[in-house]
Each structure stands twice: as C-alpha cells, then as structure tokens.
C-alpha cells in the first residue's frame, strides 16, 4: 500500500522524465480500483454497506483533521462539532422544508466553513494544548445544545432524510448513497493529495514548524491558518451532511469522545499522510464489527490496542510503512539534472524582476531609516533607547555590540517581529510600523535567523521553495486542484528549478534533496540564505549569519555577500565576528546597553577608543 499511492516524498509535480507518467499511471489505477470497489459495495448487503459507509464518513472526518493537525500542527478536537452542525442542519432543514438535499450541501459547507474560520481565528490567540482545549469545549457546548434544544429532538435525536433514488437508467449501479459517500471520500482524498503535491505544502509545514520563517518569507500565516481551518471544518460539515442519510442523528454521535476518536484515528493511522487517516478510521469503526466478542471485552481490547499502537508506533501505521519502504520506493529525484523548463511560466516572468520596481533614486538614498527607536519587553528595563539607524541603498551596514546591547531586538524591529514603543521605521520611504513581517516582505525586505528556522523533515530545496511564496500568483487558490492544472505543473517545475539554482549559487548544490534535519549546521545556514536570495530581495537583514561556521565557511559566506552586494542588494548584518564583518561593511553602527555609541566606517569604529573598551574588551 505504501508505494501504490504517491504519499512518499515527491518533488512537487516536477514534469520531467517518465517518472511523472509512472506516478500518473498509478493514480489512474488507484481511481479505477476505487471505483470498482464502490461498485462492489453499492451492490452488497445492507450490513456490509452500513459498515463501509460509516468507515468512509469517518475517513472524511479523519482527513479533515489531518489537514489541520498534521500539516499545520493545530490539534483540534472540534471536528465533532462541525460534524454535528452539518448533520443537524441537513436533517432539520430537510424535514421542515421541501428543499432537495443537494441544495443543502453548499449551505452546510458555507455554514461550517465560516464557523471553522471563526474557531480557527481563535488559534491565533492561543496555541497548542490550550487551543485543543478550546476546540474541545466548542464540541462540548454544541453537544449540550443538541441535547437540550427542542428543535434538535433531545437525546433521541432526529431521523435523517432519505437519500434520493437514482434515475431508472442508472439503477444497476446499486445503492445511490454508497456512490455519494464514496465519491465524496474520493474528493477529500484528492483534495489533500493535491495540496500535498503543491508548493503550498512546504508553506503549511513551515507555518507548523517554523512560523517566523514563513512570515518573513511573506506568508500571511494567520490568514492561511484560518483558511485551512475553514476548509477542514467544511469537510467535516460535509461528512455530517452525508451522515444524516445513514439513519438517526443524535447528540451521542457527535460528542467530545467522537472528536477524540477522530484524533485517535489520525494518530493511529499515521498523521500527515494521505491514507493514514483512512486506515485509522477503518480500524476504529470496523473494530466492533470485526472483533465480535463480549462488548466490554471488545472495548478493553480496543483500548489496549490503541495504547500499544501509539506507544510502539507513534508515527502511525502508514507512517511506519512509509519509513520501512522509503528506501525501496524512493521517489525520483528529478531535480538533480534539471536544466530548467524551456516553457515560460507565470512564475518565471514574474520573478526576474526584483520584488518591487526599483526606483532609480540617488545611490546614497536611505533605504532603511530608524529614528528614535525605544523598546522594552513588557514592564522590564529599556532594551533600546533613542536609537537611530540609517542604511543607504546598496550598502552593507554592520551592527555590532556586546551581548545584551539590543542588536537582535533592533533587527527584529526592522523585520517587523517586534513593535517599538517609541520611534519610527521607514523602509524605502514607507512608514512600516504597522506592517507585519509578511507585509514588509512584500516591500522587498527579507531576513535570516540566528538559529535557522526551517522544516526539518523536508529537503533543503523544498524549504527554499517557501521563499518563493509571494512570487507565484495564485498558489493558495490553486493548491486544492494542483495536479490537474497544466499551469501548475509548469509553475512547480520552474519553482523547483529556481530553488535548486539558488542552492547551487550558495554552494549547497550537493544537498538539494537532503532533509534539513540531516544536514550539517553550515548547510542549514546556507539553505536559509538561499531561501532569502531566491526571491531577489532588495534588503536583507542577517542575524549573526556566521554563527557556528568554520573558517572556510565564513570566507565562503563573505564571498556570497559580496556577490549579493554587487547585484545591488542592501544588507544589514548583525555579527560578533568582527574579522568577518569589518571588511564587508560600508558603515558600522555600534550599540551598547541599548544606545548607539557610534556610526562610521569600519576603520573609524575599530580605531575609536570607547568602542575598543566596551566591545573588544581591552
């Protein structure tokens, strides 16, 4: 099962060689087999159908949870709630009006999608465990409403609508509701499969593992989280719509234990895999039917099995299979020999220009201007006091100072991660104080982090891809149907090519397919640099880029920065290693205890007695 469907690491839809055709053939085969299975089920006995349909509905629920939990790292216990909304809405409206059930589907999608977006917005305020708890409470509240409101039929619940029959001609296909449910599941699988193969996938993982990195690359992480959450809720709502055709809709079927069970399905089946959630859903729903013993003993066995499964295989069944067969079914590394796609794509033409048009201003124009910056963390002491920093276009401007002088804080203020209590910051003449890091990226400002923020489980090239986020239009829009669009294939190829080229330019060409978790520290830093450089920025803020590099790596870095400067890129570099920094800089600002001591050329700074005393420790 592991190799049959493209769950393994696959370069985003690279359209090169016969490998792509091989994967397409496999997908085609999968779809045919799936349809055959559906046909078989639609003509089976009611008992078998009942079992399969419940498993399929929960499969959709599990996939919807995996979307937010596996890819975004937002563990939600709210799927039960959206499931309930979908089912109850369908049942109540279908009973009270004469509307065809098919019109109710878009209504359900919109309602659950919107409520999902609202809940998702709460994830921006609280994260991790507390977010899970908030969603858990959401489901609790809905269950209680469903039990106590008269319209929902109380504990007994309501009888769901009947699914309309197929027209005479299609009758041999079997039970219509089976086709509906199975096709819905196929759509859900397809949706997730497409997202996994689109450039949106590394972006989602970046939001999960390295949110500051995604933000600095121009991703509006809050919006993406809310959007994906809404999508997942809509999917769960559609599962509710489907479920209403299967019989009675009562509160006990949507309570918090159901939400928990869905999470169990995802974790046991394999989180962040395409088929894992379905495997998990099948296991959990079919277990009582397959293991037909005393009900209590059955539950005990189920509980014991889930404990064993999660303690022995924390990555889930499918995750384990993937790992075992990874060597055998390793996806084609089509990128290595790539000389690039000869077809032009929107991505190519859009990105040859720097991110924003470069006005031909005077060479000594101030491109970054900080005036009177004052900052403290909470009620604490002032970290920055009346700091002025003016960086000229095309310059390399160094920022040095002892530990605790406020250098990193200033860099974070320029990049937008921190908001100063006093003072203003202008980038290219634009007042940026109210702009988030992602918006500043849109102005052509990028940054690197002292401790590299990257997605460890993805290859370096995929991480660099995140840097291209803002440069390819319609990434998010097209993600759900990515593999079906020819334009998308071209964009994938071109993005992959540019990412690999960026990596080669910084000297990490040998590590293009290596997972970030497996590469040495120096290569991680170079990957960071490549992810910034690939977007052709105008300004780069580098936070201690030489950290942990060997002598030769530091020299290599100096050369790279020199090359960037030759292309007209402005750089602000925070560093300790003055031997590396001074030869590069046009200007150096010295900070001490939150105040600017001196701004001047490297020689002026080096010779200044005050600086020598406080910084070089003599």
């Amino acid at each position: 099962m592991a190799g049959k469907h493209g769950q393994l690491s696959l370069p985003g839809g690279t359209a090169s060689g016969h490998f792509a055709h091989l994967w397409r053939a496999r997908s085609f085969a999968f779809v045919i087999a799936y349809l055959a299975l559906t046909f078989f089920l639609a003509r089976s006995s009611l008992a078998v159908q009942g079992l399969a349909l419940v498993a399929a509905v929960f499969g959709i629920l599990a996939i919807s949870l995996d979307l937010v939990a596996g890819m975004l790292g937002l563990y939600s216990l709210g799927q039960g709630g959206f499931f309930a909304i979908g089912a109850y809405l369908t049942t109540i409206v279908a009973a009270d009006t004469q509307v065809s059930v098919f019109w109710l589907l878009p209504v359900v999608l919109v309602v659950t999608g919107l409520s999902g977006a609202i809940i998702g917005a709460m994830s921006l305020r609280v994260s991790g465990l507390y977010f899970a708890i908030t969603t858990f409470v959401f489901t609790l509240v809905l269950t209680v409403l469903a039990t106590d409101l008269p319209i929902t039929g109380g504990l007994q619940g309501l009888l769901g609508p009947a699914f309309p029959d197929l027209p005479e001609a299609l009758a041999p296909l079997g039970t219509p509701v089976v086709w509906c449910v199975m096709l819905a599941l196929l759509v859900a699988i397809g949706l997730v499969w497409n997202i996994r193969r689109s450039p949106l996938y590394p972006v989602l993982l970046a939001i999960r593992d390295a949110e500051p990195f995604a933000e600095a690359a121009g991703v509006r992480t809050g919006l993406v989280k809310v959007g994906v959450f809404g999508l997942s809720a809509a999917m769960a709502g559609s599962a509710g719509w489907l479920f209403s055709f299967l019989g009675v809709v009562s509160p006990g079927q949507f309570d918090w234990s159901v939400s928990l069970n869905i999470l169990v399905m995802v974790l046991v089946g394999g989180i962040n895999t395409t088929l894992g959630p379905i495997v998990g859903a099948s296991f959990v729903t079919m277990f009582p039917a397959v293991v037909n013993i005393d009900p209590w003993l059955q539950e005990i066995l189920y509980g014991a099995l889930s404990i064993i499964a999660i303690t022995v295989f924390p990555e889930g069944v499918v995750g384990l299979l993937k790992r075992q067969f990874a060597a055998v079914f390793k996806a084609p590394t089509a990128g290595r020999e790539a000389t690039g796609s000869s077809e032009t794509s929107r991505a190519d033409t859009a990105s040859q220009q720097p991110e924003t048009s470069r006005e031909g201003g005077p060479a000594a124009e101030a491109i970054v201007e900080c005036r009177g910056i004052g900052f403290s963390y909470g009620q604490g002491p002032k970290v920055l006091r009346n700091v002025d920093l003016v960086v000229k276009r095309g310059h390399i401007h160094g920022l040095i100072g002892p530990n605790g002088s406020g250098k990193s804080t200033l860099a974070n203020i320029i990049a937008g991660r921190l908001r100063p209590q006093a003072g203003t910051t202008h980038v290219k003449g634009v007042l940026v104080d109210r702009l988030a890091p992602s918006e500043r990226a849109g102005l052509g400002l990028r940054r690197t982090f002292q401790a590299a923020q990257l997605v460890r489980e993805l290859p370096t090239s995929r991480n660099v891809l995140v840097g291209l986020y803002g440069r390819v239009p319609g990434l998010v829009r097209r993600a759900a149907v990515w593999t079906l669009l020819p334009s998308a294939a071209r964009d994938s190829a071109s993005m992959q090519f540019r990412a690999e080229q960026a990596l080669r330019e910084v000297g990490a060409g040998d590590w293009i397919d290596s997972r970030v978790g497996d590469v040495p520290h120096g290569i991680e830093q170079l990957t960071q640099l490549a992810s910034v450089g690939v977007a052709a920025p105008e300004i780069i803020v580098l936070d201690e880029p030489a950290t942990g590099l060997s002598i030769s790596e530091v020299d290599h870095l100096a050369r790279l920065l020199g090359q960037l400067k030759a292309r007209g890129v402005t750089m602000i570099i925070i560093e300790h290693q003055t031997r590396f920094l001074f030869p590069l800089c046009d200007q150096v600002t010295v900070l001490n205890a939150g105040e600017v001591v001196l701004t001047g050329t490297a020689d002026e700074v080096r010779a200044n007695p005050v600086v020598r005393q406080i910084y070089l420790g003599e």
Binding site: H521, G522, E544, A546, T547, G548, L549, G617
Partner: protein, 242 residues
C-alpha cells in the same frame, strides 16, 4: 612524586549529537585534579554539546567519559549529578520562582540526608558570595544577571562534585560582574576545585585556566597554554575564532 590519581575528568573518542548526525566528533581531553581547562570556539562549534554530553543530557552519545574512578558514559543525568559532575549551564537556568536559598539547597538534593554537610556547604557558598547571604530569601527572578550567575555557581558547588562544568559564565554580564565571578572562581581553584570552562571571552579563559582547547565545527583543533596566547597576542586566537 607523581600521584597516580585518576584525572578529575577524562574523555576519549566522544561523539555526540542527534540520531542521524553528530554535532561533535572524536573529542578527547582530560582535566586533572585541581586543574582548570577551557574550551574555546565560536558559536555553534559544539562546546555546549560537550558539556551536556558529560552531564548525560545528550541522548545520542558514544565514547568514554570518566569522572575520577567512575565511568559515567552511560549514566543518566541524575546519577551523574549526585557528586560526580555538576553544571552551571548557559543561561544559568535557575528555578526562577524559588528563592536563592531554595535553589542552593536543591543543588545539594543528593546530600539531603546529611543535614550538617548541607549546612556546611551552604555556609561556604555564602562565604564565597556574601551578597547571596543577604538575598537568601529573595525570589531568584528578582536578581541581577551577575547575582544569578553566583547562584548558579553556588548551586553547582552545593552538590560537592568532583568536576565542575561552567558554560559561558561571563555571558551577558557587565564587566564588574564578570570580574567578581572570575575572582570567585579563582578562589575556588585555590581550594582545589577541578573546572571545565566553556567560554567565548578569551581574556576570561586565560585568567582562569591552565590549558585551553580550541574547538571549531565539532572538533578540537588545537591546544594552547595561556602563556602562548599572551605572547602571541590575541591574534592567535582570532585565527581560530574570527
């Protein structure tokens, strides 16, 4: 008369890091009893990893680590902390919601049944850092950086270890605070303590230590004496540190 006593700390063929990737490779050195040895190097060279590996805090390590007569290569941290080695880690990592004295007493946790010894150790810590006696009941989060560093060193002393590990004791301290820390460590040396020091500040290291090892990129690349450094000027070190 050469004493045949085992060195306070002896490391050979140490590899440590993550499951797939070693951060430090083939590390070998020793600290004799009463000696102070420094590990110098740029950020990311792996110096902190060496200290953490000695304390057992790095899961993936192989090689031999001996403290005195004991082989600690496979011991859990809490066993190592019971009188063999003790660490004053990077960032100090005091238990901030507890008082100075509580932090110190916790340092002597493995000696808790010997109340007299704990009291004596506490007295010696207050003797070394009189200002802590004054602040003994104060919540540690309310101390300055220098004072917190004193508590961290005191907490390390309280376990009466055979070898003491210090990770960048001068980090983020004002020159005055650094000076008092160095003076306290010199006093400790006079009392015969064995120290392994990780530092970025060369001047602190040459004041305190008998020998300096230089680390870059996960390996030890050179060994020097403070005299060599003084004679050759800081320029020698800059060759390695940038």
């Amino acid at each position: 008369m050469t004493s045949a006593r085992a060195p306070a700390l002896e490391i050979s063929a140490l590899f440590a890091g993550y499951a797939r990737f070693d951060v430090v490779r083939d590390i070998a050195f020793r600290v004799d009893e009463g000696e102070a040895v420094a590990l110098l190097g740029p950020n990311g060279a792996g110096k902190t990893t060496v200290l953490r590996a000695i304390m057992g805090l790095v899961k993936h390590r192989r090689g031999t680590i001996r403290v005195g007569e004991a082989d600690i290569s496979a011991l859990s941290p809490y066993r190592i902390a019971r009188g063999l080695a003790a660490i004053a880690p990077e960032g100090r990592r005091l238990f901030l919601d507890q008082s100075v004295e509580d932090n110190l007493i916790l340092g002597a946790f493995h000696l808790r049944h010997d109340k007299d010894r704990v009291r004596a150790l506490l007295e010696s810590v207050y003797g070394l850092f009189p200002v802590l006696r004054e602040y003994r009941r104060r919540r540690s989060s309310f101390l300055s950086g220098g004072e917190q560093q004193m508590v961290a060193i005191g907490r390390m002393l309280m376990s009466d270890p055979e070898v003491m590990l210090l990770d960048e004791p001068s980090d983020a301290l004002s020159p005055v605070a650094v000076d008092s820390v160095v003076k306290a460590l010199l006093e400790l040396r006079k009392q015969g303590a064995s120290l392994l020091l990780v530092e970025q500040r060369v001047d602190v290291a040459i004041r305190l230590c008998d020998r300096l090892y230089i680390m870059t990129n996960g390996e030890i690349v050179d060994e020097m004496s403070p005299e060599t450094v003084r004679r050759g000027g800081l320029g020698i070190i800059n060759k390695y540190l940038g």
